[in-house]
Amino acid sequence: MTETVAMMVNGRAATVTVDDPQMPLLYALRNDLGLTGPHYGCGLSQCGACTVHVDGNAVRSCQMPVADAAGKTILTLEGLGTAERPHPLQAAFIAEQAVQCGYCANGMIMESAAFLAKTPRPTEAQVRDALVNNICRCGTHPRVVAAVMRASRG
């Protein structure tokens, strides 16, 4: 009954074997591949905590069946950049101290990265609209917007 799904994750080939192909990608990333950057927040595509890139698009991994990831290219926060080679957004989030608990930070950064790839020179209002479906309970919003603007200036 098990199924094996092969995908590219953070630039490397990865396979996961699952009992249920309908299992959301989020659990494969967190539990099978040990990538805990994406978080479970709602499982309902309402909060953004689980966001990853699938073929370059920001996707809510809590609602995407792992079977649908077969053959796709997945990027998680861990693959976006590292301390040695940070993505401009990661550097900007540090510079603006745009994190409190940081549970939302994965979604903020991954959503913004996909957004900036399409809209490299946004206005602040565009940034706020782009993040309208990303929840933060700690109130980091102004710092997140400042960080995205900083990253967009390069």
């Binding site: 861990e78 608990c101 929840i135």
Partner: protein, 732 residues
């Protein structure tokens, strides 16, 4: 000189444990659980220095995403003169850290940090005395740089002096601390130490913690909050591979499986016959329900003069009632914990804000001696009070005991919204009398709020499972700030402490202080309007002469917001969009942090939509350890409380919570966050006060006052929805 013990075992035990914890292994042996000093009057409870000179700070207060960990490191680095990079922090571990009470009430720096500072100052004095001995130079001539003491042409390091041995020294609260002019680390903005790991996906939250052989559990909560599980049909999940066990005890039902997804599916699919229950009040009549609830205790928090008589004889009388809805913590990450039983002992990892209390509660629930229970804090999603972390730990403990293997429990979104403890409904009646000049001659406030204070919020698993628990309600110290910081000639503020409240209550950021300040400051605005007075000027009129710091925050925020002196409401009612501004002031608990704010709003007269466009805040919490950390807390307070003020409201039917996701429990979104202008007043020579809550207290009143200024209509029921706004505009 025997302030340093050479019992190597002490630190070895501590050291071994730390390593064990950091790489996720178990404590090594029985001795390791109790060897380290944790009594809050011992320096060793707070501090150790190893053979390499690395400093470990042990602290009972936990970070919870506030950044206070970085503040603790600054305090230790400053007092000891060691680089921040040489310090690490162990938080909230019952085997290792002192019991400094729960992390609540904006006391982490004010109490926890001050205690740490005293421990470090005591240690430094001891180290200098030892160094003077060793170097043959007088203490007064010694210099400390990066953990090395020099004098008389020679130097000796802390590691040489005490490395690897524990301090055996009582904390001296009067040990001299560094004077403001000598500080180089405290009082300056320091980047938070946790942020890089968080943005690179390397930070280990409790949600990410794994143990070898660990299973996954999920609670299966009753569909009606008071029902019990009459029968559980285990066959209903037989087709799910990896299910290990179904646990059923009274109304506590849980599943354990090999994988997280199997546990989630099993919890969804498990068929349970639940008894009927419909014991919740009718939400549409909640305030009548509150008024009808028996009063357990009456507490008068301020009583001066004869306000009833003064109001009776006043030239003008004003009266109003304010209410504040039931709220969920609605944490971004559902509560999560891991529990393990081993050799008859229980260890839990959770984001509990009160591990020492949780330990007692788990011991009670499970009938275990608390010596056999260890609770370890690991950071979770931001927590603004007592949310579900402790309950998840209790769930995990019950499941782990049943299966004999470590179990991780993470609640689903509906568990979090549905079953976290709630901020209780809050109702305040106010009456005031004004003289012919509009001055307040008498003020009476009556709050109708549940009984209880801080304490242990009963564990859901214990409640549902019929297991031992304290069986008390603890909504937090919600009586604070019903008393006002103003010099009214006569005043009486009374808290009617209700015997029950519909949902298990707990404290959510600024409990009671915020709701009471909201009612008081909005009602004071009503008095100012009745008097035809400018709201800032009206407050300054009653500011006690001996409270210059209060006057200063108000005057500063007025300047910051370019406040135009005039009474409310403003007179221009043309156009669809009406604009206004409102002011508020609080002196937190009447004894500490001062905050004043001005909100600017736009109200759409047709739709009732309310937009807060700008928010100004002046904030005085005395000495600041990390100014940017304070600013970040103030921003968080304002945004979180704007969310609560404008949008949040628990909904429920007669059986259960119906707002169980982010669609039905809406919170603030990016486009709704106003521009914020924050002025922090630094007072390095004063003692530090809390900043994690006070700025929340001024938000709802600033908003309703601004709405009144814009429209002439007064909103007295939180949340301030567009529907309520439209209704108020029709009545205005």
């Amino acid at each position: 000189m025997n302030a340093i013990t050479s019992r190597r075992s002490l630190l070895q035990a501590g050291g071994a444990m730390l390593v064990a914890f950091q790489i996720g292994l178990r404590p090594r042996d029985a001795a390791a659980w109790t060897d380290k000093a944790v009594a809050a009057d011992e320096v060793a409870a707070f501090l150790s220095i190893d053979a390499q000179g690395a400093v470990t700070v042990f602290i009972g207060k936990v970070d919870m995403g506030t950044g206070v960990r970085t503040g603790f490191m600054q305090i230790a680095a400053e007092e000891l003169d060691v680089p921040m990079a040489r310090i690490r922090v162990v938080e909230g571990d019952t085997a290792l850290t002192p019991d400094q009470g729960p992390t609540y009430g904006s006391l982490s720096i004010q109490n926890g940090g001050v205690a740490l500072r005293a421990a470090c100052a005591t240690a430094r004095r001891e180290l200098l005395t030892m160094a003077a001995d060793r170097l043959g130079a007088p203490v007064g001539s010694l210099q400390v740089t990066e953990g090395a003491v020099s004098g008389g042409g020679r130097s000796v390091t802390y590691a040489d002096l005490v490395g690897g041995r524990a301090f055996t020294l009582k904390v001296d609260a009067n040990a001299p601390i560094k004077p403001p002019e000598a500080r180089r680390i405290v009082g300056r903005t320091v980047p938070r130490v946790d942020i890089p790991d968080k943005v690179f996906g390397r930070f280990q939250y409790v949600h990410d913690f794994r143990l070898p052989g660990m299973l996954h559990g999920r609670p299966v909560r009753p569909p009606a909050m008071g029902s019990t599980a009459e029968a559980v049909d285990e066959a209903s999940i037989r087709d799910i591979p990896g299910v290990v066990r179904v646990i059923h005890q009274g109304a506590f039902v849980g599943v354990v499986a090999e994988t997280e997804w199997a546990a989630i599916r099993a919890a969804q699919q498990l068929r349970v016959r639940w008894s009927d229950w419909a014991g919740l009040p009718d939400q549409a009549r909640i305030w009548a329900h509150v008024r009808a609830t028996p009063v357990a205790q009456v507490q008068v928090t301020l009583d001066r003069g004869n306000p009833a008589g003064a109001i009776q004889g006043a030239a003008r009388r004003v009266a109003a009632t304010y209410d504040f809805a039931i709220h969920s913590h609605a944490s971004m990450g559902p509560s999560c914990a891991v529990a393990e039983f081993r050799d008859g002992r229980l260890t839990t990892w959770s984001a509990s804000q009160a591990t020492h209390n949780l330990r007692k509660q788990l011991g009670m629930m499970l009938g275990m001696n608390i010596e056999q229970v260890r609770c370890i804090y690991m950071e979770g999603a931001g927590c603004y009070g007592r949310n579900g972390h402790e309950d998840a730990a209790a769930d995990a403990a019950l499941l782990a005991r049943a299966v004999g293997r470590p179990v991780r429990v993470q609640w689903m979104r509906q568990d979090e919204h549905g079953w976290d403890p709630k901020g209780p409904p809050h109702l305040v009646d106010l009456r005031a009398g004004l003289d012919a000049q509009g001055n307040i001659v008498g003020w009476e406030a009556d709050a109708f709020i549940p009984k209880g204070a801080g304490g242990n919020v009963d564990l859901t698993a214990a409640e549902l499972g019929g297991l031992p628990r304290e069986n008390q309600i603890h909504p937090g110290n919600i009586i604070h700030n019903l008393a006002l910081p103003y010099a009214f000639p006569s005043i009486k503020t009374t808290c009617h402490r209700l015997d029950t409240t519909p949902f298990r209550p707990s404290w959510i950021r600024t409990p009671g202080r915020m709701q009471n300040t909201y009612a008081n400051e909005a009602f004071l605005d009503e008095c100012a309007a009745a008097a035809g007075a400018d709201p800032v000027e009206y407050r300054l009129r009653v500011m006690p002469a001996d409270d210059p710091r209060g006057r200063e925050v108000l005057e500063r925020v007025a300047r910051l917001a370019n406040w135009q002196t005039r009474p409310s409401p403003q007179r221009d009612r043309t156009g669809d969009i009406l604009r206004g501004r409102g002011v508020t002031y609080v002196k937190y608990e009447l004894v500490r942090t001062y905050v004043a704010a001005v909100a600017e709003v736009e109200v759409n007269r047709r739709t009732g939509d309310i937009r807060v466009t700008r928010f100004f805040c002046a904030h005085d919490c005395g000495q600041m350890i990390n100014p940017d950390g304070v600013k970040s807390q103030v921003e968080g307070n304002i945004i979180h409380t704007l969310s609560r003020t404008l949008k949040e409201e628990l909904t429920y039917d007669r059986s259960t919570v119906t707002s169980r996701d982010w669609g039905s429990y809406q919170v603030i979104t990016f486009p709704e966050v106003p521009e914020m202008v924050i002025e922090l007043i630094d007072r390095p020579a004063e003692r530090p006060w809390g900043a994690g809550e006070p700025a929340a207290a001024i938000v709802p009143s600033a908003v309703t006052n601004a709405i009144f200024d814009a429209t002439g209509a007064r909103l007295r029921s939180v949340p301030f929805t567009a529907a309520k706004m439209r209704a108020a505009l029709q009545g205005a």
